[in-house]
């Protein structure tokens, strides 16, 4: 039987870790921390990739990362260990390190985890909860982790249906700031659309827009399409006809293309095979780079947003309504 997992014990282990690290390095190490980042990982095949993601994030968002690895099963099981992630900035002689605490729990023991985490949260800094496993995020046991954090991040892209949108929309906005990495993936699409209408000549066409067509790849309508459509509806109202259809495009992108049609106005933003997007408006074509986005790129975007994201909250509500229709 394993020893009970106590926050004091973990904190003591952390203190010991820092002493050891300091002894190993001639110039000591610099401890960096800007938030408590709780990452909940399920049994998915890439569960080990979380370490790489946290390492990539620590450059910009150094944190005390608490990784909760949840195994299926109701048998009580709870264990913890501490480690540090360090990097040596170019041209410096002192390593920068962030703390990582790994807690292993069975699904049955997940409700015991908040009591442990509560003692491990870094005071006076934001707490962000990220659930990597979309199924797990909707379990009853996961809900007990929500009160620990000020912001919840999920990724609906890997869900088999659109229930994560409904789940996220159902959480009270007054208690949590909410984020979905599917929405983060849409940022550059939305930027490309916005860029067209930076031109006053085209901006005049916005309010006489008649149709917007969003084409997606794959066999099912992805969550991204709903967010995208809801964004247009949020901004332009119900007067614009929104058409969502399956289209051809590279498989790495859930959105293939967006077409705008209005009086004397046509524009298209289309994903190309080479990780670029082409904008076509008024006989002018422009290619921009859309490099592949990694998990840490998306999280970086979300961790940079400290306050409420009012646009996303409005879009989330509309997306849920659209799906329900």
């Amino acid at each position: 039987m394993t020893a009970p997992v106590q926050p004091e014990r973990i904190l003591k282990d952390l203190a010991g870790l820092w002493v050891d690290l300091g002894k190993q390095e001639e110039n000591g190490v610099l401890r960096a921390c800007a938030l408590t980042f709780i990452v909940v990982v399920g049994d998915q095949p890439d569960a080990s990739g979380v370490g790489e993601t946290i390492a990539a994030l620590m450059h910009e968002h150094p944190s005390r990362a608490i990784v909760v690895r949840v195994h299926t099963g109701e048998e009580p099981e709870l264990d913890a260990r501490v480690l540090a992630q360090c990097w040596m900035p170019f041209g410096r002689n002192q390593q920068i390190c962030c703390e990582q605490i790994e807690i292993t729990s069975s699904l049955g023991s997940l409700e015991d985890v908040p009591a442990v985490i509560r003692g491990l949260i870094v005071p006076d800094l934001p707490v962000v909860l990220y659930c990597r496993d979309i199924q797990l995020s909707q379990t009853r046991q996961f809900q007990c982790l929500l009160p620990l954090a000020g912001k919840l991040v999920i990724d609906s892209a890997f869900a088999s249906d659109l229930s994560p949108i409904r789940y996220l929309a159902s959480l009270p906005s007054t208690n949590y700031r909410k984020a979905d990495l599917t929405w983060s993936r849409l940022t550059r699409w939305r930027e490309s659309v916005a860029q067209i209408f930076d031109n006053p000549e085209y901006l005049r066409a916005v309010y006489s827009m008649e149709d917007i067509q969003i084409l997606y790849t794959g066999s099912e309508e992805p969550a991204a399409v709903y967010y995208f459509a809801a964004w247009f509806m949020h901004l332009l109202g119900a007067g614009v006809h929104l058409n969502i259809a399956r289209g051809a495009g590279p498989s790495f992108s859930s959105i293939a293309r967006v077409d705008f049609h209005g009086q004397n106005f046509e524009a298209t933003v289309e994903m190309m095979d080479d990780f670029s997007v082409e904008t076509r408006v008024d006989r002018v074509r422009q290619r921009v780079v859309f490099p592949e986005l990694k998990e840490h790129d998306l999280l970086r975007q979300e961790l940079s947003i400290v306050g409420r994201d009012a646009i996303f909250e409005d879009v989330l509500g509309l997306a849920e309504l659209m799906w329900g229709r």
Partner: protein, 510 residues
């Protein structure tokens, strides 16, 4: 007023360039290749350049559009090191580049430019917005401004702005004259005098540090601050720019513009809002409050230096007078240090020591704010810095090469007894925000295109900073110095240390 773009999401989107054409005069020069085109390419890579965008390059060299694009591509290969060169992106971006050869002293050159602008406006839907960029030799500025005025290119269907690179004049008189020429053609609100120091992240961060935090501002005055040191040191010499540098010197090239702007950021009053003219008003007030030196005070409040030859490592380093293009009896200051007093309530009698030089031991730019020592130390003086005043608190704001902030304070040494030693609390920009910082030119180019002049200098600021150094320039023009007076690889002439010693201060070793 133009309508706002409803698709904007300021929380997540980066600032974008509006549709426009940039006309670069001096497009075959170093600045275009090293800074402007790399900055514009990076903006394109970050999806911040709109479909309606164009660059027109001009210089006297005959070149086709294709040859110009090829040159700019070579420049990218050479000078862009933190952005991948994407072939498709470049193919697209390069289509927005065009070139025409012409002498800016020839009015026909501007008639041709006018035609090109109209053509581009129609083909690329730039809305008639034009940013003129003077990247030529300063001696050609007036011709370019005159030409733009002659061809009526400063007016058009969209906005028209002009970016002027330093130097803004050679002294107060010529600065004033340049401003008059500019105002014959452009309104002051359309003139963007670029000081790339103000575009640096850390210089901008001074504003965040001072006015975003509540704990520093109460200490930010003569009651708590003993003195301020601003250092801009370069380890290199004039690197083939001897002829240019000989006409400028450290006081004109660095202190009059960059470092006085940095000083004004340190010393300014809190602006009521973060708006271009409000921030610039506060900076201008500081510059106007600089105490003017009397001629007899100049030797006490300023020091000029020039490096001589030296052996550094296992190599011989030439003195300034041995550099190519430099006169054998040159009186140019490759080092300058000044003591400045700001005559206002906040800063009365607090010395601001500013120094800049070439061939100093290392490349570094920082600001050191030294606080007054604790009035009394209850700890015994163990000779290790615990005596009152031995180790005053120091706030260091590092601008380059490693942007960041450090606070030095005393701490008890672990172990027996009460032995204190100075420790440093470090904030490093690169390591706390690992994301790439935009280059100063990326920031400033976007600012000019979106019409935000906060980080640009205004006519009154330029003239006030020239007025501050003019007595030194006048004195030096009448008093030959005994140069060289410091060997390359050292921290400058002895007289500079003496200038601080007179007030009981010493230069910090950065």
């Amino acid at each position: 007023m133009s309508e706002a773009n409803p698709f904007q999401d300021p929380l997540r989107f980066q600032r974008r360039v509006p549709p426009c054409t940039i006309v670069i005069f001096g497009a075959n020069g170093d600045l275009t290749k090293r800074k402007l085109i790399p900055a514009l390419y990076r903006l394109a890579y970050d999806r911040r350049i709109p479909p309606g965008f164009a660059v027109i390059g001009n210089s006297r060299t005959a070149m086709t559009d294709e040859e110009f694009r090829l040159k700019m591509r070579e420049a990218l290969n050479k000078f862009v090191d933190d952005t991948p060169i994407d072939e498709n992106l470049w193919a697209d971006f390069s289509k927005s580049l065009s070139y025409f050869a012409g002498d800016i002293h020839d009015p026909d050159c501007f008639t041709l430019l006018g035609r090109k602008l109209k053509e581009i406006e129609q083909n690329r839907h730039t809305e008639g917005n034009v940013l003129f960029y003077l990247s030529t030799q300063p001696s050609h500025y007036e011709a370019a401004i005159h030409g733009i005025g002659y061809a009526k290119l400063a007016q058009g269907p969209g906005w028209r702005r002009i970016v002027v690179e330093k130097p803004f004049g050679h002294d107060l008189k010529t600065a004033h004259s340049l401003n008059e020429k500019l105002h014959e053609v452009f309104a002051e609100s359309e003139v963007y005098r670029i000081d790339h120091y103000l575009g640096k992240e850390t210089v901008q961060n001074i504003l965040a540090f001072r006015f975003g935090n509540g704990i520093f501002e109460p200490l930010w005055n003569r009651r708590y601050i003993n003195h301020v040191q601003i250092t801009a040191a370069e380890s290199i010499g004039v690197e083939g720019r001897g002829a240019y540098y000989q006409e400028a010197g450290a006081l004109r090239d660095m202190i009059q513009n960059h470092l006085l702007q940095v000083m004004s950021t340190i010393a300014m009053e809190p602006p009521a809002v973060f708006e271009s003219d409000v921030v610039r008003d506060e900076r201008a007030k500081v510059l106007r409050s600089i105490r003017r030196m009397k001629s007899e005070e100049v030797p006490l409040f300023s020091v000029a230096g020039q490096y001589g030859p030296a052996q550094i490592g296992n190599g011989e380093v030439p003195g300034f007078r041995q550099e190519e293009g430099v006169d054998a009896d040159s009186q140019t200051d490759t080092y300058s240090a000044v003591t400045i007093f700001i005559d206002n309530w906040r800063w009365a009698d607090v010395p601001f020591y500013i120094r800049s030089g070439k061939r100093l031991p290392k490349r570094t730019t920082d600001i050191a704010i030294q606080f007054n020592a604790a009035p009394h130390s209850p700890f015994a003086d163990d000779g290790a810095g615990t005596a009152p005043g031995a180790r005053p608190n120091l706030l260091i704001i590092r601008i380059q090469p490693e942007e960041g902030t450090s606070l030095r304070f005393l701490s008890k040494q672990p172990g027996e007894g009460m032995h204190l030693r100075p420790v440093s609390m470090d904030f490093n920009y690169g390591t706390s925000f690992g994301a790439r910082s935009p280059s100063a030119y990326e920031t400033l180019l976007v600012d000019a295109m979106v019409g935000d002049a906060t980080l640009y200098t205004r006519q009154d600021m330029v003239e006030a900073s020239w007025a501050a150094v003019q007595p030194i320039l006048d004195y030096r023009s009448h008093h030959a110095a005994n140069f060289p007076n410091y060997p390359a690889g050292t921290w400058g002439p002895k007289a500079s240390d003496e200038m601080l010693a007179r007030r009981g201060h010493v230069w910090r070793v950065p």
